[in-house]
């Protein structure tokens, strides 16, 4: 019992981080309707900023750096500057990304926040290096700020610092909740999230009100993580970014609307993880569950929360749904399909070594990205689990080929079916939730699969998850032969398999199934009213998408000869989603772009080898995606907007403006009058 108490209090350090990040997420959702996946990245920057300041007083900026004083900065000023950097990032994200997207559909906002998340994380890796800071980032640790005192309570040793962190979390949540409840600006902020225009008509500025919340949550998240980091452990360029996943889970427990519940759930989750960690060291604890339990809990929490509270999680129904990205229904013409196929075949023959390898990787990634196109672009379900499906299939492939000796084509089929089953399971929450909340559930699922399956030592033999080389009818289709890194046979096997699947996918999307997908995407209720079986269509989408991703995962596995978990991390999955969105998430050609630009693809190799920009890769992908989301929005026709802007600029000069106006001012064109009126007055 004493042990449990002791470990529960230890868990308050991570619990405080979950609580404050979760309370921040709820606050932002109340204020703006955005589910901000970048909350952890903002805190990540703050932690590194503080560490750099306390190492030698370097203030690292996105470009350049400033030396504040000649030596290490003292503790509290460094903490304040670090937390303020969180505030600045948060405000910048508001002004540059989320404010322009405030009327965009949920997909655009989720993709944008994932883009910000990747962007800041990539920037942390780049900027906090030896050149900028003057110290080795590997040797940097978050120095303690809070007191190291302990006291004994009922036989348990309790660290005062952890209690202070829990207190900070409660205070931060209470402050945020009181702001929304008791102050007029807080009430106005809630109102602005519901009907921005009505609020503006009352003389408020919704942007300024939202900015207050963005700034406050950025500061509080930064502050808490900076203070908790020494108790949690080391400093690495990823971990705090992914703390957003448990934080999202507790935000969901708070139904995205209760700051207090989210805070309490965060503290409990932190304590629970620590207790489980402690229990998993006991001899009676099953060995298969000894790793990754902590990371699997958020997914369990999400699933339980969804089932218990499913109906209570708010839909932002009052907000305008916003225009969805337009869809180009794929039309299969023999020539248009054969030409790129032939070109790819020729390219495979002409290349060799790592270029051919990256070409084949591009082909495989195209298949994985096509699964994103199907599920997210066509069906409108924001899933961040794609790479986890692929990895699960690869994992199954390793077991099937090494343990059960299942022969080649059957092995891929069975493994992909394993992924399909997993996809259906992950798709079940989608029957109850949609939009950003589904993204939360799926990223939690991906993280759970990653740490509980891929990184679980009891499921992986010490030799690694080997995969036997494929062979058919006595001919080896192995990826390597002698010194050849990638054989022609293997390359063509991949090309044929992906081409067949893509053609089948194109047929499917251009037919009745594709139409049903699009109907569900644009309006579930209307689709149901028109006779579409919405749950069945959603599960079908998840099943097909995970099957495609599963085949992709098997091909990746075969190309390596063993399952490397690094190919299937959540981060890789997010990068693939980013690349697909940038390429065009509603068309198969977008998947091809994603395949070329995705990790280890041809453009990746070009970027890393020829241009030697390898370390900038994630940053570039994230930046391109953000530009695509915010500036070159797929849901918005570029030209009419631009033309209108030109005309507005010319408005003070009536003679020029009239010359540029497309419709003659004389005589009322009936349709031009009717259409806007009916659209806006209805």
């Amino acid at each position: 019992m004493n042990d449990l108490l002791q470990f529960a209090v230890i868990g308050f350090s991570t619990g405080a981080v979950y609580a404050v990040l979760g309370a921040s997420l709820v606050s932002l959702h109340i204020a703006t309707g955005v589910v901000n996946f970048a909350q952890g990245s903002v805190a990540l920057w703050a932690v590194w900023q503080t560490a750099a300041l306390r190492a030698n007083g370097t203030l690292v900026l996105p470009l350049g750096s400033v030396a504040l004083g000649d030596g290490p900065m003292s503790a509290w000023p460094a903490v304040l500057v670090g937390a303020t950097s969180g505030l600045v990032w948060s405000l910048a994200a508001h002004l540059l990304v989320f404010r322009p997207l405030r009327r965009a559909p949920a997909l655009g906002q989720v993709v944008a926040s994932v883009g910000v998340m990747l962007f800041i994380q990539a920037l942390v890796t780049l900027r906090f290096d030896r050149d900028t800071m003057g110290v080795d980032p590997g040797g940097l640790v978050p120095l303690p700020v809070l007191t190291a005192q302990t006291f004994t309570f009922g036989g348990a040793t309790i660290a005062v610092g952890n209690l202070l962190l829990a207190g900070l979390a409660v205070a931060a949540a209470a402050g945020l909740a009181a702001y929304f409840r008791f102050t007029r600006t807080g009430i106005a902020t809630k109102a602005g999230a519901e009907d921005e225009q009505a609020l503006r008509l009352m003389g408020y500025s919704p942007d300024r009100l939202a900015a207050v919340v963005w700034g406050a949550t950025g500061f509080l998240s930064g502050l808490t993580v900076v203070l908790a980091a020494p108790a949690i452990g080391g400093l690495d360029p990823v971990s705090y970014m992914l703390y957003v996943v448990p934080a999202l889970a507790v935000a969901l427990v708070g139904r995205l609307s209760s700051i207090g519940v989210a805070c309490a759930a965060g503290l409990v989750l932190g304590a629970l993880q620590q207790i489980l960690l402690f229990l998993s060291t006991k001899p009676w604890w099953p060995s298969w569950a000894s790793a990754g339990v902590g990371d699997a809990i958020p997914f369990v929490v999400v699933v339980v929360a969804l089932f218990l509270l499913g109906r209570g999680i708010p839909e932002r129904g009052a907000r305008e749904a916003g225009a969805l990205p337009p869809v180009a229904v794929p039309q299969l013409r023999p020539l248009s399909a054969a030409a790129p196929l032939a070109a790819t075949g020729i390219a495979i023959v002409l290349t060799s070594g790592q270029w051919r390898f990256s070409l084949v990787m591009s082909i495989v990634l195209t298949l994985v990205a096509a699964s994103v196109v199907l599920l997210t672009g066509y069906l409108g379900q924001i899933s961040l689990t794609t790479m986890a499906f692929a990895g699960a299939a690869g994992f199954a492939l390793s077991k099937l080929t090494t343990n059960a000796h299942v022969p080649f084509p059957l092995s891929i089929l069975l493994s992909a079916l394993v992924a399909t089953a997993l996809g259906i399971v992950v798709g079940v929450p989608a029957l109850r939730i949609r939009g950003a909340q589904l993204a939360v559930a799926t990223i939690a699922a991906a993280l759970a699969i990653e740490s509980f399956v891929f990184n679980n030592p009891s499921l992986t033999p010490y030799t690694g998850n080997l995969i036997r080389d494929p062979s058919m009818l006595g001919h080896s289709l192995a990826v390597r032969q002698g010194t050849d890194v990638i054989t022609l046979r293997f390359s063509f096997m991949v090309l044929v398999m992906v081409a067949v699947l893509l053609i089948a996918l194109a047929r499917l999307l251009s037919g009745a199934t594709g139409r049903a997908f699009l109907a569900v995407r644009s309006n579930e209720r209307a689709a149901a009213a028109a006779g579409v079986n919405v749950p069945a269509v959603k599960l079908l989408g998840f099943a097909l998408a995970s099957f495609l991703a599963g085949v992709g995962g098997c091909l990746i596995g075969y190309s390596r000869g063993q399952l490397s978990t690094a190919s299937f991390t959540v981060l890789v999955g997010l990068t693939v989603l980013a690349a697909t969105y940038a390429g065009g998430i509603t068309r198969i050609s977008g998947a091809v772009v994603a395949g070329l630009a995705g990790p280890l693809g041809v453009l990746y190799l070009f970027c890393t080898q020829t241009l030697e920009l390898g370390k900038y890769y994630t940053l570039i992908v994230a930046a391109v995606m953000l530009l695509r989301v915010v500036v070159f929005r797929p849901d918005r026709a570029l030209m009419p907007q631009g033309a209108a802007r030109v005309r507005r600029l010319l408005a003070p000069f009536p003679s020029i403006a009239r010359r540029h106006a497309p419709t003659a001012p004389a005589g009322p064109p009936a349709d031009a009058v009717h259409e806007p009126e009916s659209a806006h007055a209805g």
């Binding site: 519901e194 009352m202 003389g203």
Partner: protein
């Protein structure tokens, strides 16, 4: 800047309502030659409307005539593509802030009440020095609903709340868009006289967009009928009320 600004800043009740429209210098709301629309395409053209303090203008017309567009442009929600809108001498160049600061309030056709806030919270949003007491004095029906979420109110109650909240802002110019949308004629009958009282007692200039022609004309001083983005008929409300045939013809664009 409008030439009428010096006197328009201090509207008084002693203006002559029967003076010719073009010559009035004390209009609380003056719309001159306005063209406005969406994405640079005008939906209304050459709108001229003047509303003196303390008077009500009924803006009528069939669906798609441009009534809402006119109000939205006057409130600064739409860019002005041509002509001008002035509120008490302040030009509203397509900026909501200009309009609200000059004392203009628009009640949009969705009523603009916040469904997730309680009635009390909705009323608090109006930055009123006296709190929301005056609103409850004017609409005592709201007193028992203060802690209820606005989304749970009936349409008529929501409309009362929208008007009560807007009046707390003490508007000099009040634009009301399709107040009767989704309301029974009886509910409209109850609310319209309130607006008349506001115009008479507070000297507020009111523009009322309505589909209930007769009820609107019964409280209005002036009326204007729009068709296809233009004003096709104006006149004193009492006169038009007697001559329904003229309004009917204007509705059909004759």
């Amino acid at each position: 800047m409008n030439a009428t600004s010096p006197t328009a800043e201090t509207p008084d009740a002693s203006q002559a309502p029967d003076a010719p429209a073009a010559d009035r210098t004390d209009d609380a709301l003056a719309i001159r030659g306005l063209s406005a629309g969406y994405r640079g395409v005008p939906a209304v053209r050459d709108i001229d409307l003047q509303v003196p303090a303390g008077s009500i203008l009924a803006l009528l017309g069939p669906n798609g005539a441009g009534k809402t567009t006119t109000l939205r442009a006057a409130a600064g929600l739409l860019p002005v593509l041509g002509g001008s809108v002035t509120v008490l001498g302040t030009p509203i160049a397509g900026r909501v802030e200009h309009a609200t600061r000059a004392g203009l309030c628009l009640i949009p056709d969705n009523r603009g009440v916040f469904h997730r806030l309680t009635v009390a919270e909705n009323l608090r949003l109006a930055r009123s020095k006296d709190g929301y007491g005056p609103a409850l004095d004017r609409f005592p029906q709201l007193r028992g609903l203060l802690n209820r979420r606005c989304g749970l109110l009936s349409g008529g109650e929501q409309q009362l709340l929208a008007i009560a909240r807007t009046l707390l802002l003490r508007p000099r110019v009040l634009l009301v868009d399709e107040m009767s949308m989704g309301l029974s004629p009886v509910a409209v009958q109850r609310i319209l006289p309130e607006l008349r009282r506001v115009a008479d007692e507070d000297g507020t200039a009111i523009v009322l967009v309505e589909q209930h022609i007769d009820q609107a004309l019964s409280v209005a001083d002036e009326a204007a009928v729009m068709h296809h983005g233009r004003i096709v008929l104006t006149g004193p409300a009492a006169e038009l009320r007697q001559d329904r045939a003229r309004i009917q013809r204007a509705y059909f664009g004759d």
